[in-house]
């Protein structure tokens, strides 16, 4: 019960962070919040007879989230090295 509410709160806060943050790192952190909350919720839903399955899919979720974070950070650092910018509005034009 308490875990579900906490996870819902963390997920909503993640959505809020993605909506209001201007720095890309802040947006990435918001996405991390959502993924972490979802992983815990997955385990809550799967506790009992599906525990092993929930754990293994939690592991896969971990892999996906880590891959997302690494690619995102690589993009941030590269964008900063190219144009010295790290705010989301500054990426308006696609052709760089």
């Amino acid at each position: 019960m308490i875990l579900t509410v906490a996870c819902a709160g963390a997920f909503a806060l993640g959505v809020y962070a993605v909506l209001v943050r201007r720095e890309i790192i802040g947006i990435l952190a918001g996405a991390e919040l959502m993924l972490g909350a979802a992983a815990v919720q997955l385990l809550v839903a799967g506790s009992g007879e599906f525990a092993a399955g929930a754990s293994s899919f939690g592991l896969i979720l971990l892999v996906v989230a880590a891959a997302e974070a690494v690619v995102g950070l690589a993009l941030i650092v590269t964008a900063y090295r190219r144009a010295k910018r790290s705010r989301i509005e500054e990426f308006g034009e696609v052709s760089g």
Partner: protein, 164 residues
């Protein structure tokens, strides 16, 4: 209230506090500290839900890897002045309303585990391996392919950034 309930409650509190800090902090230092607290709280939740393997993997991959990379990126992006870089946000009631609505819906809809029940049995890593290499083999292989793709993508991104 048993010791297990207390552990669950403290893990939940850590998750919530860390998430609030991550979403609302103004300085990058606080953001990273809160994100670390959140990830540690998630690991504790995994432990409380009976999956030590997932908890260890969470610490290994997230706190030891991803969080270090976040800090690393902040150090690269925010260097220059001695101050800790600020993380700006444009607070807006619409976004708050969306988040609040989402919270209410999620808190009502998602399945719950009744509090006060005995701590779940620990899931052994062998059982997880059985699922991953048995019925979940396709997902497992796809995750491997995804990791390889991410690795190549990072190499390509970083390489192309270095040319200029």
């Amino acid at each position: 209230m048993s010791a297990h309930d207390l552990a669950v409650a403290s893990a939940a509190a850590l998750v919530l506090a860390g998430a609030a800090g991550t979403a609302l902090a103004r300085s990058a230092t606080r953001l990273v500290l809160s994100l670390g607290a959140f990830l540690l709280g998630v690991a504790l939740c995994f432990l409380a839900l009976g999956s030590p393997l997932l908890a260890a993997a969470q610490v290994f991959v997230y706190i030891g890897g991803v969080l270090v990379l976040v800090l690393f990126a902040l150090m690269v992006v925010g260097r220059g002045d001695g101050e800790s870089p600020r993380v700006e946000s444009r607070h807006d009631p619409g976004a708050a309303l969306v988040a609040l609505g989402l919270f209410v819906v999620l808190a009502i809809v998602t399945p719950k585990r009744p509090s006060g029940i005995a701590p779940p049995e620990m899931v052994s890593p062998l059982a997880v391996a059985d699922v991953l290499l048995g019925s979940g083999i396709v997902a497992f292989e796809l995750a491997g392919v995804l990791l390889l793709a991410a690795l190549l993508a990072v190499l390509v991104i970083v390489k192309s950034g270095g040319e200029r």
